[in-house]
Amino acid sequence: MRHILKNRILKGVVARHIEPDLSIEMESIGSELRSLIRKKFGRSLHIREVDTGSCGACESEIISANNPIYDLQRFGVNFAASPRHADAIMVTGPVSKNMLIALKSTYEAMPDPKFVITCGDCALKGGLFKDSYYTEGAVKDILPVALHIPGCPPSPTTIIKTLLAFLRQDV
């Protein structure tokens, strides 16, 4: 207990100031649907993460985005443990054939309204693995994707800034 108190006081607040950057160019959907998503989820968004064959670096960065330094939760974005509690799924990886059924059922298990975010280069077009015999390719051919977060892997700052720029109308 003594150590916890000491380090709590010594460390103080480590969270970094992050400005949503509106100049980010996003690969996203039409403005009509976007404003609908903003209206519905702008202040509180619960995301279920689905790995469809990523190398684990995207997962690591998504976890980092939730650490005390980047602290994604302060912007109202949470990661849910079940698709039943989620408003969106964040898909990583080039969609291995083995994950196709699981990906679709996760999407189906979510209540409406819902949308899909892809995270990392693999999820966009298959990345390095697009020519493989065992990948299904782009997530957008399987599910309706509303937003893509680019990078291999995208840094926590990119993840947060892209999400915020997408969700906030006027910052």
């Binding site: 380090n7 790995d51 190398c55 980092s64 650490n67 330094i69 083995n98 699981a102 065992y134 892997p153």
Partner: protein, 526 residues
């Protein structure tokens, strides 16, 4: 040890042994070719004599040249810092071989992999279920790693996977996955429980299979490094190091000492951020959030240090054949040492917080015990093996620059979560010491680097990444294009051990056991 020595060694254990050929292409690699009828006995002799688990067992499609498949088994001679590769030919008209899984358990998964990828049948095998090509989505009789494989447009299902069933009064099954509650890779776990304790656990993996080994084929070595880095994202440097090592051996490139030191520093940095991440993960899994948050701050500091030194948080795009792109000048050395100093202080506090919490220690102590005998039988490697008392670390057995640094291997005995936690703490501190030492030894001399001259050949590349040994067996053609690349991530050996470590524990302790192993899904599934 040279060829005659090793052959006479085998003869002592196996009277009447005769090899077709024996050659030593590199100082650390001996290749012995035997008749198919003698293959299993020789494997068993090497397995007991060295002693070594089956480190690799794989097939190569040589039908274009010799109308035959070739099967190779790789054993490690730790005492002599050598790899012993045993080969045999398998005729292509009736591709089969006698299974050795009943005698050497560590060969079992490899045999299943050869069967599903090449259609070479291990006769009398106890288990022939497919690992990565799931029956629900892939037809029978389609073998992707054969050279004449053609991608089918819409493959069909061929059946269903059969789990091992435990039956009896009060036994019930809990299926978990492939999509888990946390932000983590996909895998399916089937628990059979009676009351609270787990009486059987079967893990079904392969959900992240992306056909990596096939993708390597026909690629230029410079393009292939990028794929190697994406096999397991948290061990990207370990993988790129093992891959470049194999290429450098084939091309006969000697890497400058300065680059060897730089590579060792990055390998240790990768180890540090992953070890501290796992310690935080173990704290999360027992619901102890303060040290978990504290550990994530330390991890973030190391990732940011990586970015400052190389421009990439996960050390991707840093390594290349013949050297390394990042240069340690005086400023970078200063950044490295001063950041590490702070990181070490924070780490000391983290260890104090964990050690002084009785409830945390109570949870990790005696949870998830992997006994030494089980670990040896399964061929467990790396960190998990060391926690169970198997003294195996490539940094010790194939030392290189670690020799002068007087590398001290961390080892445990009890094989429980606490032992694995302690190994991580020891290795983190050792890594810190090594980095400091290596950084002092780097002196900048611009050396002329020659463009690598591609050559045809085969070689085994290896590196002790943070989970354990990463092995790459590589075959190139004249132009330097890759003909076959076999990758073994330590997770492949260790996943099955988790099923044994979890036995007898209650289900709420499974996440803790799992995190204390922290194995890669994508590294296993390839």
């Amino acid at each position: 040890m040279d060829c005659p020595e090793i052959i006479s060694g085998i003869k002592k254990n196996l009277p009447g042994f005769a090899a077709i050929s024996c050659s030593q292409n590199y100082p650390d690699e001996i290749y012995i070719k035997v008749e198919p009828s003698a293959f299993n006995d020789t494997c068993l002799a090497l397995h007991e004599m060295l002693p070594s688990p089956v480190m690799m067992l794989f097939a190569v499609d040589e039908r274009a040249k010799s109308k035959q498949f070739e099967i190779k088994a790789v054993f490690a001679n730790f005492k002599k810092s050598q790899w012993i590769i045993l080969g045999m030919d398998v005729p292509s008209d009736d591709p089969c071989f006698e299974s050795m899984a009943k005698k050497i358990h560590s060969a079992s998964l490899f045999e299943r992999e050869i069967y599903e990828m090449f259609g070479i049948t291990p006769k009398n095998s106890p288990d022939l279920r497919r690992l990565n090509l799931h029956d629900e989505v892939w037809p029978k009789g389609s073998y992707p790693l054969r050279k004449d494989f053609k991608k089918a447009k819409s493959p069909t299902a061929s059946g269903e996977y059969k789990f091992v069933r435990v039956e009896g009064d009060g036994v019930f099954e809990i299926p978990v996955g492939p999509v888990h509650a946390g932000i983590i890779g996909p895998g399916h776990f089937r628990f059979s429980v009676a009351g609270e304790p787990i009486i059987n656990l079967e893990s079904r993996l392969g959900f992240t299979h992306r056909g990596v080994e096939k993708l390597f084929e026909g690629k230029h070595y410079n393009d292939a490094i990028r794929i190697a880095e994406c096999i397991s994202g948290d061990a990207s440097f370990g993988h790129s190091l093992a891959f470049t090592h194999a290429v450098e051996k084939i091309f006969g490139i000697s890497v400058s000492l300065q680059d060897v030191y730089s590579r060792a520093i990055f390998l240790e940095l990768e180890r540090m951020y992953n070890h501290v991440n796992d310690m935080g993960g173990m704290a999360v899994d027992v619901g102890f959030s303060f040290p978990a948050a504290y550990a994530s701050i330390i991890k973030e500091a190391i990732l940011q240090l990586n970015e400052m030194l190389t421009g990439n948080r996960y050390l991707k795009g840093v390594n290349r054949v013949g050297g390394i792109l990042a240069v340690f000048d005086e400023t970078k050395k200063g950044i490295l040492l001063s950041s590490l100093d702070k990181i070490k202080n924070d780490f000391g506090e983290l260890v104090k917080i964990l050690n002084s919490s009785v409830s945390f220690m109570d949870r990790v102590d005696t949870a998830g015990v992997l006994r030494k005998k089980t670990a040896e039988d399964l061929g467990v490697v790396g960190l998990v093996g060391r926690a169970s008392g198997i003294p195996m670390d490539l940094r010790k057995h194939f030392p290189g620059v670690y020799k002068d640094a007087k590398f001290k291997m961390a080892i445990g005995q009890s094989g429980d979560c606490l032992a694995r936690l302690k190994i991580r703490i020891d290795e983190f501190e050792e890594s810190y010491r090594l980095i400091e030492l290596f950084a002092k030894k780097i002196c900048l001399q611009r050396e002329d680097r020659h463009m690598p001259q591609p050559k045809a050949g085969t070689a085994l590349g290896y590196a002790e990444s943070w989970r354990g040994p990463v092995l790459y067996w590589l075959k190139t053609d004249q132009a330097g294009l890759i003909e076959r690349c076999k990758i073994v991530d330590p997770s492949f050996h260790n996943w099955q051990a988790l099923s044994y470590a979890a036995l007898g524990n209650i289900i709420p302790d499974f996440p803790l056991c799992n995190k204390s192993f922290d194995l890669s899904y994508s590294g296993n599934d390839l």
